[in-house]
């Protein structure tokens, strides 16, 4: 029951998004630190692949929402836990060095995504808090 408490909100989804943004930030920070290293290829965690992986996990979760067959079907408590694990194998090594400004832009965009996810995440937790404490 307590695990279900969070699954009815968007908290699991937002956890994945924020976690991915933090992982990607580290890779991009490494790119900027190595901007003058000869032979270095910029690395990235492509957000498109993450979004596709998330979409697949969400579809799987929604399908499992069908009424359980008699005899019981134990739904995994957090089907989204697999999403970030998948991204590990997707570090992309660019053919070209994409350059200084492109890296800064990616860092800024990534930060925005992180802010977005964090704001809604904090809001969801506050909502749960309001429901639990019965104080709107």
């Amino acid at each position: 029951m307590l695990a279900q408490l969070f699954n009815s909100t968007t908290i699991p989804v937002l956890e994945q998004v924020a976690g991915f943004a933090q992982d990607r930030h580290q890779v991009l920070a490494g790119n900027l630190a190595n901007i003058d290293t000869p032979g270095y290829r910029t690395r990235d965690l492509p957000p498109e692949l993450f979004e596709a992986s998330l979409k697949k996990a969400l579809r799987a979760r929604d399908q499992n929402n069908q009424p359980a067959a008699p005899g019981g079907y134990r739904r995994p408590s957090n089907p989204l836990a697999e999403v970030r694990g998948d991204v590990k194998s997707m570090v992309r090594h660019d053919e070209n060095n994409t350059g200084f400004e492109a890296q800064i832009t990616e860092i800024a965009k990534n930060q925005m995504t992180h802010s977005l996810a964090m704001s809604v995440l904090v809001n969801q937790f506050q909502l749960l808090g309001a429901a639990i404490s019965e104080r709107a």
């Binding site: 920070a29 490494g30 900027l32 290293t37």
Partner: protein, 140 residues
């Protein structure tokens, strides 16, 4: 996220080493003999960067370090100054003094690039700090 700070810090250190080498070059732009007094044009120093596997984050994030500070081996600029104490005494270059082959333009441009990269790493540190602070707000 802590490794992001380490990675950016490694970038700062590396760029500062590079800037130090450049400052060295500009300061010695007219140095015509070495410490022991023997006439020899100062050779420009340049730093060589490489990725630093010791400073790494998950998913392939990696830092940088200065592999070495190399001494270039370039032909000096010759100027005819027969009464200079470091002038060549005999041979085909008699009366010429060997000056370092350092161009202020090139060194300054390199310094600007190093400064830009330094500031970029500072900017990334700001972003890292803000992301961590936002994460802390989940608890507040």
């Amino acid at each position: 996220m802590i490794s992001a700070l380490d990675i950016s810090a490694s970038g700062l250190t590396a760029q500062r080493t590079r800037l130090t080498a450049i400052a060295n070059n500009i300061a010695n732009i007219s140095t015509t003999h070495d410490e022991s007094g023997a006439p020899e044009a100062y050779q420009p120093r340049f730093s060589v960067f490489e990725t630093d596997d010791a400073v790494r984050g998950p998913h392939g994030a990696v830092g940088v370090r200065v592999a070495s500070v190399e001494i270039a081996d370039v032909e000096p600029r010759w100027r005819y100054q027969p009464y200079h104490p470091d002038a060549v005494q005999e041979g085909e270059r008699k009366g010429y003094v060997a000056y370092p082959n350092i161009s202020v333009m090139t060194e300054f441009t390199d310094a600007l690039e190093a400064t830009r990269a330094y500031e970029a790493n500072l900017g990334v540190i700001d972003v890292t700090k803000e992301m961590v602070q936002q994460t802390l707000r989940i608890l507040a």
